[in-house]
Amino acid sequence: MSGTKEELVQRIKQLEQENSDLQTLMENVNDHSTALENDLEEKNKEINSLINKMKHYLSPQLYDSIVGGTITADLEYHRKMLTIFFSDIVNFTTITDSIEPEILSDCLNLYLNEMSTLAMNYGGTIDKFIGDGIMIFFGDPTTRGERDDAMACIQMALKMQEKIKSIRAFWNENGVPLNLQVRMGINTGYCTVGNFGSKERMDYTIIGGQVNIASRLESSANPDSVLISESTYTLVKNAVTVTPMAPVNVKGIHYPINTFEVKDIPTEGPQKKKIFEKIGDGFVIDHIIFNPQTTGEDTRTKIEHALRSALSIVSKSGKA
């Protein structure tokens, strides 16, 4: 080593200053990184909050596809075999005139909520609500195959009709004179599916003649029934019992559409009426006849389950 003592002392001081600068610099960079990370975390929270809000406006399948990145927000579309479902409340206009708007809004939301839950349970993509009408399709963004998509749609429709009876009883019991009856129409065929609209405001929806046929079937259906086209029936004829109905004509389609009213799905067994049916925050409970000597174990279990569920709801409502 060379240099005078003064020079060495000077050099040591210089090195100490550099060391101190480096330490401060490191701390500053750490603080800066932490500030950015915290900022990022806040932004992530905001994004998640917005995504959660957006979730309520989309079907689960569509939501998963958008968030998962399999669907882009571009004006793109493709052709796909879909089963399309339409439903509409019979004489809804008359109903709107006879009931207070607040009560009607509550009833309509309860009805749409119950129907949406069933649509989601059966894997349907809820396209849109058109007032009291519902448009659902099966087969996109995910498909289980044409037959299974059609079958799921019919199963959903029958379940909806079953639920509607319970909702009707629930409303009538609560003093709402609303004779809820719903028409349903189902058709299967190639549709154009994708984003339609403008770059600023687009809808992920389906269009095409097959959509119009499903809508027409719904308007031709009897109240409380499900009317399907021959193309849907062909896919499910081994599994579904139907009654042939009169063909219907659809504007723009140059041949009559053969139609069938769905009765039941024999492989699922007879549609046994449920003892207990949850409706919104309440429930409907059917006549229960219990005889310790004659009631079988299966019925006894169902009664027990129904009473427990009913008691739980009544008890919670009392505490609220």
């Binding site: 401060t24 610099l25 701390e27 500053n28 960079v29 603080d31 500030a35 915290n38 900022d39």
Partner: protein
């Protein structure tokens, strides 16, 4: 002596003796910041009395960026040729913490947050 691209701009105003940063500065590493370092150094050489670093419109600055700015503050302190003024925005969260921290490197840096 300015740097301008789609993401950010750094403009030296010799008359005002100020460097204005805008946009989002996220270059890959410290080495990538060499042109920024050169601009700071040249602006320092050309200025007298005081030099202002205006970050009020800089939305984002990554860690390599703050290292470059901090090193410039250290070099300015060591040369002690002119005073430094740093302008920041309270509405941009990283600025509130990181710009005040420059005082730890040189207590005479005048940090003004608005």
């Amino acid at each position: 002596m300015n740097i301008t691209n789609d993401d950010f701009s750094i403009v030296f105003d010799e008359a005002q003796r100020s460097i204005v940063f805008k946009g989002s500065l996220r270059l890959l590493n410290v080495k990538e910041y060499e042109p920024v370092k050169s601009l700071l150094s040249a602006a320092h050489d050309k200025s007298t009395g005081q030099l202002t670093l205006d970050f009020r419109d800089l939305k984002f600055l990554n860690s390599s960026g703050i290292t470059t700015i901090s090193t410039f503050v250290i070099n300015s302190r060591n040369s002690n040729k002119l005073k430094l003024e740093v302008l920041g925005s309270k509405s941009i969260s990283w600025q509130e913490k990181s710009l005040i921290n420059l005082n730890k490197l040189w207590s005479e840096v005048n940090v003004v947050l608005s």
